[in-house]
Amino acid sequence: MLSAQQLESYITQNLECEYIKVLGDDGTHFEALIVSPEFIGKSMVQQHQLVYAALGDRMRAEIHALSMKTLTPDAWARLNV
């Protein structure tokens, strides 16, 4: 069964992440918070596409549902003030 930790490592292998947290313990439904400098200057659609691209075929085969929030490092820093 796919764990949240595995999913986290799938993403970080292909996407530079300043912070990432993936939650979900049923093997198919996951929630992710992802902070990456690669998101800078990109629309929300483009940011999610980067995450999907990092997951590649796994998105079709293994992962049924991934809900995500994507943030640039600046936006993340503002949230943590």
């Binding site: 929300m44 999610h48 998105m59 995500m68």
Partner: protein, 103 residues
Amino acid sequence: MDIQEVIKNQVTANPVVLYMKGTPKFPQCGFSNLATQILNACNAQYVAIDVLADQNIREGIKAYANWPTIPQLYINGEFIGGSDIMRAMYESGELQTLLNAAK
């Protein structure tokens, strides 16, 4: 007609199109359900296309927007996002603005 052509016609012939699993009355997935609830909360008039009813559309729509998941929302022919983005844009008021302009 090529499936990409069919989809292009669907999203340009209708101002607001939601590709979803199931129907607005009987959504077959929590994310599709959320998408219909958001559109209803915005009083949006939209065309819903059940991807479970057509395997070609189901696969074709993923390639069309380079987006591997359902639901997908289109306004005036433009891909807006999936349910996470719909929720964020609903909360910011941006979605209502786009929907008003689509009418």
